[in-house]
């Protein structure tokens, strides 16, 4: 008969140990008891579920099939209430008796509730389990005043999660330093500032005295007498190991269940792993050492005592986007013999503190920039002698052979400890799905989606393996919103945010600035095609009054003149307007149009009405013009009808907005008189067809456009243009000209995703463009129908009122 192994606890530590046992081919009859009624899940990711970045079902590590497939008896939702050490069995609450030869206690920990009055009121929660998370999700709603008691790792992640759900969040912390177990006073202050910039209020040091309210919580009262309103309270004041079961069974317990280097308790048949343990006086709250324990115990249970658990250097990482925090090792600078190196850049929000002892790394704090995390982790783990490289300690050298670390790993080695993803599986996925970026790798393999610590290693793996590896660019929009354009597009879409104010309130600092507000305005317009709430206060003045502001505060007016083709009647009206409004300068522009300069804001509606021509969008990030040559209509060299095609091109795209200005040109023959090859989009006519070129520039930089495709007819050229145009609108960063966009992505990728894309993908681009176009209208119509009564009007105080 197989020896019987019973595991009490279905959390990450216990199951990780069982997985290691299975991997080692151990022959046990295994029973796992779990309090919670579902399979094993990744507790570390609960904060992402709360934040809405991950659906709950995606954090399940082992579903019920896994237990079945490995012949494990899963007793889920069943609580073990006693251990009978004499008879070697456990007794559960249903009075079931399960015998064991070996018993693993992996009972974990529970939230510690500080002794404060009113903690039993309604709407007071803890944040530990999937059920806790679901309870919080059910209550969180925009505008709800939430207070998180505890400014440690978990508390801060809960705070950000609730804030992303729209709550107004205050963090109350007993210590004067946030995350004081991982940070020093300076690091804590940097962190506080970053959280405040996100719009989270932080109160330090503040001792909570009681939770007030009639039945449900209404306020948090402090020991110093003050109080704040609260409709929802989350207590995240720390955890306590679950030791009662072990204690009642007479095992040695202290703060945790006492274990030796082989995870053995005081009873040789009973072992313990995870947050319930105490090893050499230390208890645990972070996941990495618990996996280590699981590995060692799996060896011990298969008779291999060659490795011992000797404790683990603590390492912690805050999982809040835009708030990079990493801390590892011992950060106590009062330890004798410890030397400290510091780097501070308050403007950039970067703080580094390195503790050295005997020439070796002792501890590290990184705030704001954690890009060197891997180097420090390695130095800590290997105990590297740094005495000869003192100058590099603050700026670790980059690995001369980035592939070495990857090459040293075996295919069967686990890269992502949180999700148990092996090197071999990652390599297979890279080839199978053509993965190029870390984001794609995360999506397909779940690697690097847990605590994130293997992210750098995954990137190295990608760099070494993926044929078309792309480095992740982490440009954020501005300090108001710590997200990249790509992330913001996703956020706006998935969270269905429809106004600039909403995005800033939930994801930003509630203020916004001249950089992010116009960018968000564009983003919302592009994503929702007019279904959003247009907010003129978030637009630059040019887009509030549809004219280009000049150095003296007046405006310039450029009417649309499609393809640069005009008529005597139009020219006459322009001349009349110039005289009527005393326009100081009338100028032919570089884009074959006429510019009226020096017009007062209050005259704009009248000027537009008198002109009777649509806006040329010369003031905005949008479709400018199509420059054309005369082509076959008059030119003796012309081989294609460039004016008619150019005018049609302009008609199809006019009144639309783009990430940056968008200029086009159509030439009727390869002599290219319309300079189409230095435009954002150009057509060059040739015998029997057109070349469609994109990404040209003749501005700050000069760049010859790349050939997108060669086609036979004008209609085909127009369709190719539409595909590129919409693709640029959807994928470029705000203020990224097409020539930067084409260089960044590469013309091959752009061809693949536009003109060579699947029919469905092409139709998608064309449909979305059509939707935007259907909503688009000539902005100058606002001259007759202003969006606000004083859109173009200055307020004049009558003389009489001033006397």
């Amino acid at each position: 008969m197989k020896p019987r192994l019973v595991v009490v606890g279905n959390g990450m530590a216990g199951v990780a140990c069982v997985e290691q046992l299975l991997k080692r081919g151990a022959d046990y009859e295994i029973t796992i008891f779990g309090d919670e009624p579902h399979g094993n899940y990744n507790r570390i990711l609960l904060s992402l579920v709360l934040a809405g970045e991950r659906p709950a079902e995606e954090i399940i590590l082992n579903d019920l099939n896994w237990y079945q497939n490995h012949g494990i008896r899963a007793r889920l939702g069943v609580k073990v209430c006693a251990i009978d050490r004499q008879r070697r069995c456990v007794v559960d609450e249903a009075r079931g008796v399960t015998a064991y030869d070996k018993l693993i206690l992996a009972t974990g920990s529970r939230p510690w509730i500080p002794p404060i009055g009113g903690a039993d009121k309604a709407n007071v929660h803890v944040f530990r389990t999937l059920e806790d998370t679901q309870a919080l999700l059910a209550k969180a709603r925009p505008g709800l005043r939430a207070v998180v008691i505890g400014g440690g790792l978990l508390g801060l992640e809960a705070a950000r999660g609730l804030q992303l759900r729209g709550c107004t969040v205050t963090v109350v912390h007993l210590s004067s330093v946030l995350m004081e177990r991982q940070l020093d006073a300076t690091g804590g202050e940097y962190l506080k500032r970053k959280l405040e910039a996100l719009g989270i209020r932080v109160l330090l040091p503040r001792q909570t005295a009681a939770l007030l309210g009639n039945g449900r919580v209404e306020a948090v009262a402090f020991a110093d007498g003050g109080h704040i309103e609260a409709e929802l309270v989350v207590i995240a004041a720390g955890i306590r190991p679950n030791i009662e079961l072990a204690q009642q069974a007479g095992l040695a317990v202290n703060r945790g269940i006492v274990v030796n280097d082989y995870l053995e308790t005081s009873d040789p048949a009973i072992y313990a792993v995870g947050e319930c343990t105490e090893h050499r006086g230390q208890t645990f709250g972070l996941v990495a050492p618990l996996y280590e324990q699981g590995r060692v115990l799996a060896r011990v249970l298969t008779g291999d005592r060659s490795e011992a658990f000797t404790g683990a250097a603590p390492a912690a990482r805050l999982k809040i986007a835009g708030v990079e925090i990493f801390s590892a090792g011992s950060i106590d600078e009062t330890t004798p013999g410890v030397e400290v190196l510091r780097l501070e850049d308050p403007a950039a929000g970067v703080y580094k503190k390195i503790l050295l002892k005997d020439g070796r790394l002792h501890g590290v704090i990184l705030v704001g920039d954690t890009s060197d995390e891997t180097a420090y982790t390695e130095w800590l783990r290997k105990g590297t002698d740094l005495s000869g490289m003192r100058k590099q300690v603050l700026f670790p050298p980059h690995d001369p052979d980035p592939g070495l670390e990857v090459a040293e790993l075996a295919d069967n080695d686990i890269v992502c400890g949180c999700n148990g993803v092996r090197k071999g599986a990652i390599i297979a996925a890279i080839h199978q799905h053509g993965i190029r970026t870390l984001a794609e790798l995360k999506k397909h393999t779940k690697a690097a989606t847990g605590c994130g610590s293997c992210g750098p290693l995954c990137s190295k793996l990608l760099r070494a393996v993926a044929p078309d590896f792309e480095e992740e660019t982490r440009t954020t929009l501005c300090a108001c919103l710590p997200f990249s354009y790509e992330q913001l597009r996703e956020i706006v879409r998935s969270q269905r945010l429809k106004s600039v104010e909403e995005v800033l309130a939930v994801y930003g600092n509630r203020k916004g600035c001249e950089v992010c507000k116009p960018a968000l305005s564009y983003l919302l317009d592009m994503v929702w095609c007019g279904e959003h709430e247009e907010d003129r206060s978030a637009r630059f003045i040019n887009d509030r009054v549809h004219a280009n502001i000049q150095k003296d505060g007046t405006f310039s007016v450029v009417p649309r003149m499609r393809g640069g083709v005009t008529s005597p009647a139009e020219l006459r009206r322009i001349a009349d307007v110039a005289e009527k409004y005393n326009v100081p300068m009338v100028k032919v522009t570089g884009s074959q149009r006429i510019d009226l300069l020096g017009i007062k804001k209050s005259d704009l509606p009248k000027v537009w009405a008198d002109l009777g021509m649509p806006s040329g969008q010369a003031y905005t990030k949008g479709v400018r013009m199509v420059k054309t040559c005369v082509g076959t209509e008059f030119c003796r060299f012309g081989v294609q009808d460039s004016t008619a095609t150019g005018i049609e091109l302009e008609r199809r795209f006019e009144n639309l907005y783009t990430p940056h200005k968008f200029k086009m040109g159509v030439s009727g023959c390869p002599r290219n008189c319309a300079e189409a090859t230095v435009k954002d989009l150009g057509f060059v006519g040739q015998e029997g067809g057109w070349q469609v070129v994109v990404g040209g520039a003749a501005g700050k930089t000069v760049r010859k456009a790349d050939l997108l495709i060669t086609v036979a007819t004008a209609e085909e050229a127009l369709e190719a243009a539409a595909l590129f145009f919409q693709y640029y609108r959807e994928n470029a960063n705000y203020l990224e000209r097409s020539y930067d966009f084409v260089e960044r992505l590469g013309i091959e990728k752009i061809r693949k995703e536009t003109v060579y894309a699947s029919p469905e993908a092409k139709q998608g681009l064309l449909d979305r463009l059509a939707r935007s176009k259907a909503m688009a209208k000539d902005a100058w119509q606002e001259g007759a129908q202003p969006v606000h009564p004083t859109q173009f009007i200055q307020i004049e105080v009558p003389e009489a009122a001033l006397k």
């Binding site: 001249e514 507000k517 206060s537 150095k551 105080v797 009122a801 001033l802």
Partner: protein, 111 residues
Amino acid sequence: MNTTRTRRWTPVTEAMNVPPREGRLVIAGSRQVAVFNLNGRFLTIDNACPHKGGPLCDGIVSGTTVVCPLHGQRFDLETGAPVLASQPDFLRTYPTRVENGILYICFEPES
């Protein structure tokens, strides 16, 4: 002596003529000021940017600051102070209040 002098408030316009988070130019005799509506709180400063005379009424509001549309100089609407120390010039602020939907500004010289 700490005597409270009654200020002279000039009625300017209906408050709703200044939309939320935008500014409007107010011409009062030879004086040009920019009045802003910070979601219901009204603040007034000189309109001309001390840098190159840009119209601050046309600037984007960020919190309690405004950014000049010409060259991006930034000023605090509450104090008239430049946000970057490299710009030495302060703007004058004008006491502003709303009563019965009418916006009043005090144009009296600073004491």
